[in-house]
Symmetry: C2
């Protein structure tokens, strides 16, 4: 009998899940559409139906627990609270509902924390006790390991590096404050940088051929690959803001490595090189050359499921 954990990635549009073995391989998977359901209860029932159907196609596979990565997910309560990209508001007791309906243990945390546990169990951080993962998607998420354990803090919400303010008079953030790191270092952030640069400079750029809507991490990366000066400047600026913020993060928790994951991290050296340079140039003496800046060892398309499952494997 093969034991698997069902890792669930509760996303704003889709909720893919996968049966993840203890070595991190995915035995099977499917998804439900998050937006199809008017109530959270209907969503959970449909999700469990689909999980049941997927399991019935496999021989000798036993689900031993659930791991969930969710926006605004709180590990301590197993619930999701007022996630901006979900239609269901209030406190969604996701972990408890799964356990009540199946009798199996269920654990929940936010997406970036799940990625951190995935990196520790199945990625490039297996031998590390102190590291940070930075997920550069639409926003900037982070998961922080200290002394071999994920940092949750007193509220369960620790590790909000994306909402560390780097400029108190800076860009407006969705959180209501100004100058949060994710307004600079994320797909959204570099897009804003490019649009500001296009408006403020006369520099020739292939990015002038795109509408504001078409400009995203990928088009900026493509332009940089062609040697486009403005796109390269945008990566340089993003790396400067991120590198300085990471130097501050290092003064806080002194990680052995910082992993970059997700959308913007796919730009590889275009983002890694300036980030690393500015991080080192702004580092306190004690920490100089002590921190590796590395790409994540997780595959982008399965990381969320693997990370969510890792949370559960880590507990049971």
């Amino acid at each position: 009998m093969k034991h698997v954990v069902c890792g669930i990635d509760l996303g704003g549009t889709n909720s893919p899940f996968g049966f993840v073995e203890k070595d991190g391989s995915i035995a099977a998977g499917s998804a439900v559409k998050t937006t199809d359901f008017g109530t959270f209860s209907d969503y959970v029932n449909a999700l469990l139906d689909e999980i049941g159907k997927t399991q019935s196609k496999l021989k000798d596979t036993k689900i031993v627990g659930f791991g969930i990565g969710a926006p605004n997910g709180n590990y301590y309560t197993g619930s999701v609270q007022d996630a901006p990209n979900l239609r269901w508001k209030g406190k969604l007791e996701f972990a408890k509902m799964l356990t009540d309906k199946t009798g199996l243990p269920a654990y929940l945390t936010n997406d970036a924390n799940a990625a951190a546990i995935g990196e520790k169990l199945f990625g490039n951080a297996k031998e590390m006790d102190d590291f940070i993962i930075i997920t550069l998607g639409t926003g900037l998420g982070s998961g922080i390991y200290c002394g071999g354990r994920l940092l949750y803090g007193s509220t369960g919400f620790a590790g909000e590096v994306g909402h560390i303010v780097v400029d108190f008079n800076g860009r407006q953030c969705g959180c209501g404050r100004k100058g949060c790191l994710e307004q600079y270092a994320s797909a959204t952030g570099i897009k804003k940088t490019v649009i500001e640069m296009l408006a403020g400079k006369e520099t020739e750029s292939v990015l002038r051929n795109y509408s504001a809507e078409e400009i995203d991490g990928k088009t900026i990366h493509d332009a940089a690959k062609q040697g486009d000066k403005l796109a390269l400047d945008a990566f340089e600026y993003t790396g400067e803001v991120l590198g300085k913020a990471l130097a501050n993060a290092v003064a806080y928790s002194s990680p052995e490595a910082i992993f970059l994951f997700g959308g913007l991290a796919n730009a590889g050296e275009y983002i890694l090189e300036p980030t690393k340079r500015h991080m080192e140039n702004n580092m306190l003496n004690n920490f100089r050359d002590t921190v590796k800046l590395l790409p994540s060892g997780l595959k982008e398309n399965t990381a969320a499921i693997i990370g969510a499952a890792a949370l559960c494997w880590n507990e049971i």
Copy 2:
């Protein structure tokens, strides 16, 4: 037979020590003058002599270990490396030397970490797993507890909140960089703020009666107590910079409480009130009203010895 830990506070000028019982009470103590010794080895021998003399005056007291708080102290190596305020440079293997000479366990960390452990064992953080202590002396030191354990990070130097840069174009710091938090929030920091304000404003102030040398945390506090506008403005500005930095620290590790300790913290509400207000005003939603800002529960004159001893009691 009473068991005690010998807590040692290696300071630039003096090295007081005390025999600390498991409940935090001090059975006896004395000191040697740090600056009296040309070599570190001579210093250690004289220190052990004085410890022996002090012990011989007590009945039935057994030293079971040493705890040391030291500038630039590294818990992992038990050594002090190139501390700016000590004449002996290079790596001083303090913990190992004590153990070699006495056969007793010896543990070492920096002053602010020792204060954090003291706060946890003997102060106001006994029931807390996640908290930060900020020591506002000449500089700004910090010790961070996460999940019931002190945060050391991969290097042993984690928790350098005083060297988190709050303004990359800001005041010159002794570390060689610009705009470190301790250049604003410390006795040195508020003194710089006052001197800038005296130079830049026409405001009447009793502080104009002092030379730059005479202006310090105490004279500024005294002026504030008299209602001096400039002194009050200086506390307001210090609280603003510190409060914003603490809001960022909360986004990182989500503590239950932040304790202020030492020199500038003695100004009580003059520093606590503006710090708390600016911290809350700049807090990410998830963390609003989750963090208590409190005075330390340690007494200033014994905290360093108690904290150093707590480190050892925590281990043995």
